[in-house]
């Protein structure tokens, strides 16, 4: 460098700066108010045509008014075409970077997710963190037509449900990247959350609950909330949530809620002479959230007793749930194949072609360990004086 002198150095830096401008991707000056912001979209199919319903956020009212939303319908032979066709309705190119939800209709889910996911994967504007749900209603569009008591934009309301849902109960939160990952993995099936409409005093209300399970990319059935929770325990996807159970204590029935603080699951394949077994080791840490019963005072002994009870409960329920899935669907929604291929690749290679058959009859044992960390008691339990 030194041999060329200072002016060359300067020229080099300048050239380097100018050339690197060409390397950066899509950029252009566009004013923020010219963007039509898409909050979410619903995906339906009529014959050969895809029908996309966009929920766009309306900010024309200015800063004083609440944001409302508008639905735009566009159809096309491909999703991309449908989304471009929307320009002729709204005038602007749609802005997808802040889209939160993609609702897929049952019909499309049954036909297969891959064809519709392709556009999501290719479009640069759509985030990989867009959440994907399956509508249990006839069409996906209906979901966007409901009213929410506080938030006018349904997609944002739905997004908020997913932000907070895991502290109540467990619904899988599947974002685009996760779905692709699951679809690409051999022997792993995916599960998407489901939404449906709940009529309440004549108002149509949104309800996010349960999940839809898939064989590869095809919808094969639905799980309810409780089953979804058990599935997520096995898949090690539980972050927070509750286990609520009724127990008998001195012949008095008491309802107890255990708030999950931490949960860790490990699926261990045990291979012996071509026979494959799975052991599920679970460790759950939790707090007592509520004990219905005013005279029930929890000490360490009582806690140990409760821990044992919850352990038995989890072992029993999960084992039973896995049996049902094996029998009814015969689809590995838990990721046993994944565990096997990671721990014992040789055996996995052997069984991979006939994994479906193997899974149906595989033996699973569940060993759970529950630790009650605290009783969350600030005061003495309530006692009514007689």
């Amino acid at each position: 460098m030194k041999a060329y002198g200072k002016s060359f150095q300067k020229l080099f830096i300048l050239l380097w700066l100018l050339l690197s401008i060409l390397l950066c991707g899509c950029w252009n000056y566009r004013e923020i108010e010219d963007l039509t912001i898409v909050a979410g979209a619903a995906l339906d199919k009529e014959g050969d045509m895809y029908i996309l319903t966009f929920e766009v956020i309306d900010v024309a009212g200015g800063p004083e008014k609440n944001h409302s939303s508008a639905l735009i319908k566009a159809s096309g032979l491909t999703l991309f075409e449908a989304s471009r066709n929307a320009i002729s309705v709204i005038g602007n190119k749609l802005y997808w970077s802040h889209a939160k939800m993609m609702i897929i209709s049952e019909d499309i889910a049954k036909e297969g997710l891959v064809p519709v996911m392709d556009w999501l994967a290719r479009d640069a504007e759509i985030r990989q963190t867009i959440k994907i749900v399956v509508s249990k209603e006839k069409t996906a569009r209906e979901i966007l037509e409901i009213t929410h008591p506080t938030i006018e934009v349904v997609s944002l309301a739905m997004d908020q449900v997913f932000q907070n849902k895991d502290s109540v109960t467990s619904v899988p939160r599947v974002e685009e990247w996760k779905l692709f990952q699951d679809l690409a993995q051999p022997g792993v099936s995916t599960a998407l959350p489901t939404v449906y409409i709940n009529e309440e005093n004549g108002n149509k209300r949104l309800f996010v609950s349960g999940s839809a399970i898939f064989d590869k990319d095809r919808l094969i059935g639905y799980l309810n909330d409780e089953e979804t929770k058990l599935m997520m325990f096995v898949k090690n996807e539980i972050t927070r949530g509750l286990i609520t159970e009724k127990i008998e204590h001195n012949d008095i029935p008491i309802k107890i809620s255990l708030e999950i603080l931490k949960s860790q699951t490990e699926i261990k394949p045990v291979v012996k002479d071509d026979e494959i077994k799975f052991e599920i080791d679970m460790t759950v840490h939790g707090n007592i959230g509520e004990i219905e019963g005013y005279h029930f005072h929890l000490d360490r002994k009582g806690a140990n007793h409760l821990e044992k009870h919850f352990e038995e409960l989890l072992n029993k329920n999960i084992a039973a749930f896995i049996k049902t899935i094996q029998k009814e669907y015969g689809v590995d929604i838990f990721g046993f194949a994944d565990a096997l291929s990671a721990r014992d690749p040789k055996t996995w290679k052997k069984v991979e072609p006939r994994w479906k058959e193997v899974f149906k009859n595989v033996e699973v044992t569940v060993n759970s360990e529950v630790h009650i960390e605290g009783a969350a008691i600030q005061k003495k339990p309530i006692r009514i004086r007689e």
Binding site: Y29, E31, E33, G61, G62, P63, H67, Y95, S97
Partner: protein, 529 residues
Amino acid sequence: MWKKTNETNTEPVEKPEDNINTSTPSDQDPYGIMKPLSPVLTENINRLKDIFKYDKSVIYRCFGNRHTESFHACIVFVSNMADHKDINENLIAPILQSDLRDVPKVEMIDYLKTKVIPSMDMKETEYMDSVLQSLFEGDTVLFVDGEDKALVIRSTDYAERQITEPEFEKVLEGPREGFVENLSVNLTLIRRRIKSPELKFKFKEVGTRTRTTICLCYLENLVNERVLNELENRIDKIDIDSVVGANVIAENIVDSPLSVFSTVGSTERPDVTVSKILEGRIAILVDGSSKVLTMPFVFIESFQTAEDYYTEYYFASLNRILRITSAAISIAAPSVYLALVTFHQEMIPTPLLLSISAARQGVPFPTIVEMLLLLFAFDLVREASARISSQMGQSITIVGALILGQAAVDARFFSSLIVIIVAITGTTGIMTPKLKGAYIIIRTLLLMLTAVMGIYGLCYGTFVLFLHLFSLRSLGVPFMMGLGSVKPDEIKDTVIRTPWWFMNTRSKLVSGIASRRQSMDSRKGKMMS
């Protein structure tokens, strides 16, 4: 034009001793100040009267002696610059009354000097040049008939400003003295604080017309000789006819005159100046200016204030971090906003995106125009309120706050978010007053780049800014203190002001030698306790 007069008029003045004996053409020396004094009294006085035509403030007082008729003398001084009572009592009275009968004419000056005039400071001169110089300084010149020299008697006494706290470097705790316009008072303020023979004052004269005295002030054993020589060289090379303030010197001696960053420090506080001198820096005092320059100057000094050293070091460090953060905000906040709002909308959180979008509804200008207009308006208010009295400042504030802020947003002329951004930019820009000019220029350039290329433009701009900052030198000392290869001892008083007992060596970069401030033992003792 000025260059020409400069050449013709100043050359002979620069080297008086070379031209003194050669006959100078009158067009090069129109007042004949290069000519030696004449032994004839009236001739000298007439020459002065010729120079000060129509000027009534120059007083000529001619008198004799009560004992002899052959003695003729004349004093000249500028009224109100000299102490009239002093002249009457200690100059005119003794000469009038003492017996000068037996003194030979050629020894008269010598006799008056040694035996008659009770003045602490006087000197002889033979040239009209230095006679004039003395008059301008308020001294009194005594001409005696028959002598081709004059006696200059110190009698300076003119009105000057009181020592007050500098308006722009106020502190809550700490000394409240500030420099004044008088050089000798300023030197006193420094000398009083460093009672060491190491403290050196080196006088120089700059400005062929104004003949301004400047003084280099440093500690002999701490200053970097190489830096001192370089500074003296640069000052000697200044070829200008007038020095109206310290800034004239500063702009003439900086390493990179085209940079927006000044590599010369300036302060009006004697305590600050003294601490810089104690770090091995050189202070340049300019007569007639209350601003004192310090060199070498590094970038971090812009963020240091006198108060940092008078408050406890946790609080001082916190304030410094605030100042540095605010520099980044003031330079980059408008560009970051512009980049996010017009290029990278996906980087804004959704609720914020919605509220920005809602606020922009119906605003007529593109965001870049909106931003430039509002920043321009802010600078208008700033400049308008800088030079007016405080009573009018209030009305400016109302206009600025109500019209620019509230009404413009209500009228959908500007969006409310941009007002917030500009307000933050403006407030943070005030935190370091010495850099505010640089901020405005860099901010605008970055804004232009961002408008074209988005966040890439901002990155390139910042890149170039740092390249520039790292290429700057102040008298050869790296402006950014050679960050990257800097030693722990050098950065004890930069972003964080460490306690005094911890700063046991001086910066080697500045003073050339890493001299100790205190022994290591004293520091250990403090750490233990």
